[in-house]
Amino acid sequence: MKLIKDKVAKLSFVALLVTVTAAMFYTPTASAHGEKSQAAFMRMRTIHWFDLNWSKEELKVNDTMTISGKFHVFAGWPETVDKPEISFLNIGIPGPVFIRAGSWIGGQLVPRSVSLELGETYEFKVLLKARRPGDWHVHTMMNVKGGGPIIGPGKWVTITGSMGQFTNPITTLTGETIDLETYNLSNTYFWHAFWYALGLAWLAYWARKPMFVPRLIAVDSGKADSLISPTDRKVALAFAVGSIAIVAMSMSSTNQQYPVTTPLQAGLLRGMKSIEMPAPTVAVKVDDATYRVPGRAMQMTLTVTNNGDSAVRLGEFNTAGVRFLDAKVTEDTTGYPDDLLAEEGLTVSDNSPLAPGQTRTIQVTASDAAWEVYRLADLIYDPDSRFAGLLFFYDEAGNRQMVMVDSSLIPSFI
């Protein structure tokens, strides 16, 4: 007997382990720090985020902040990634530390998936309401079906206060104001507890009498029918009929209590309004581009032609959310995250104003530790070693225009 007991005990232990593992196994992804591990070409050749602004760096629970800006859907979208025909404007945060109180593309609310066009630029805004205290890295993010999450720049935001104070009041179309944070919770617990108790009662009814050994002996000796008494049958019938009756009654009383219900809303939103971008008057041709591994710098030879009527200078190169600026031309005033900003990272061989009608060939160097830190240099190990980015030219009046560059990149190891 001891032997059997030991075996059963051992088995129980194994079973417990299995259970614990199974139950503990799944947690919805909480981390949003995939940005650096994402393939460099995904970040450089898909969605280009720019003009980003995080409205606050510190806020209290229940306060709101916005992340706004624009994104350009790169026309040379890589073939290995599905086109953004079904995309969802998300936000990269570690779980619901904020709630997403609203999100808009081109002024249209986008709680559902949208269809984006290659080559277009869109304006977006995400409204966040602080829920859980802590320091959180808040990223822009676009999920693309068949392409996965495309993570944009992130900035640290601090939430203070306590989560217990968080409320989420919503007024329904039936005129009731509820707190979505706790709404329907006691009702859920009640019904689950009720049915669980009923299941336990059914189990307990059979567990009162000896279970396995004597019943197995009876079944094996052909006396199976004697194991179920007429009382058992009556009790069983009561359980079944009772269960069905409770389901029917609770359903009809629910319908009385909630006469107005609608199905879940789903479906793709099409026709997102993009920004009408004026055709750039600056034409740029990439003659060659190299990445110098030891210097952590990218060098481009560009032939720039100014077809406009005002002299222009190159002020910024932006790729994968990293901004390389020529401090003599432009500076950041929005509090852009430090690690993604190279305020003097852009060196141009001749950045004197390029007069209208002129053409000039320039050497442009974009150097910063961000190439390493954000693993953009890994680009040279990508199957399609190309880079892409946005160039911003400024005219004398401070007007800005955006030109896309897209070219192959040759690594240089010396």
Binding site: L3, K5, A9, V18, T19, A22, A23, F25, Y26, T27, A30, N90, I91, I93, G95, P96, F98, I99, A101, P111, S113, N143, K145, P149, I170, L180, E181, L185, T188, W191, H192, W195, G199, L200, W202, L203, A207, M211, F212, R215, V219, I228, D232, A236, L237, F239, S243, I244, I246, V247, A248, S250, M251, T262, P263, L264, Q265, A266, G267, L268
Partner: protein
């Protein structure tokens, strides 16, 4: 201790030992079933069970009873044919729900802070009780599969309706109409579950107008019948003692 020697010396002792054995087996089985059923259910039912904005009138109603009748059917066949104990389905569902609640409460709420009113599991108990009673009263696998399988599918939606109906109250939000469940899905950010992977309200039942839930439930019941047969046989095969060397 040799195998030929009896472990007990009196009838009273035998009864006592047998009873201890009952509890040990019950305890062990509860967790073994829980582990297997829970993993199976997460892999097949997954997101439909995790989030309220997946609990729709079409796919949730159809998919969950089909993937949920598996273990109850298998465990029933062992418990009934070998011991004439009619609680296989209920025991399975008790295990599953226990595991689900531990998971949702500790991981979804405790670890990731999704509110419980957004991530609670689905209720299978009414169908499980009816399934057990039908097998017990009919003593027939075919009848249990047909009647019980259908009942399992049909009872699922109404059995969960008192819990999810309050979340289907509509709201107007920034110029769009959505249900509170949709709003939960929108508010409580899931970076790994973008909206487009949500499989809800899809299908070809458009001609039934607004009464799609009963149609989906019937369809689910029919498929549950087939799955019941399949898993009942799995259970029978698994419950064989041929693996154990007899002494």
């Amino acid at each position: 201790m040799s195998a030929s020697q009896s472990a007990v010396r009196s009838r009273a002792e035998a009864v006592k030992v047998s009873r201890t054995f009952d509890w040990l087996i019950c305890f062990t089985l509860f967790f073994v079933i829980l582990g297997g059923y829970h993993v199976h259910f997460m892999l097949t039912g997954g997101d439909w069970d995790f989030w309220t904005d997946w609990k729709d009138r079409r796919l949730w109603v159809t998919v969950l009873p089909i993937v949920g009748i598996t273990f109850p059917a298998a465990v029933q066949s062992i418990f009934w044919w070998r011991y004439r104990l009619p609680f296989g389905a209920v025991l399975s569902v008790l295990g599953l729900l226990f595991g689900e609640w531990v998971n949702r409460y500790l991981n979804f709420w405790g670890w990731t802070y999704f509110p419980v009113n957004f991530v609670f599991p689905s209720n299978f108990m009414p169908g499980a009780i009816v399934l057990d009673v039908i097998l017990m009263l009919s003593n027939s696998m075919v009848l249990t599969a047909v009647l019980g399988g259908l009942a399992y599918g049909l009872l699922f939606y109404p059995g969960n309706w008192p819990i999810i109906a309050p979340l289907h109250v509509p709201v107007e939000y920034n110029g769009m109409m959505m249900t509170l469940a949709d709003l939960q899905g929108y508010h409580y950010v899931r970076t790994g579950t973008p909206e487009y992977i949500r499989m809800v309200e899809k299908g070809t039942l458009r001609t039934f107008g607004k009464d799609v839930a009963p149609v989906s439930a019937f369809f689910s019941g029919f498929v549950s019948i087939i799955i019941y047969f399949l898993w009942h046989f799995f259970g029978k095969w698994f419950g064989k003692t041929n693996f154990v060397q007899s002494t």
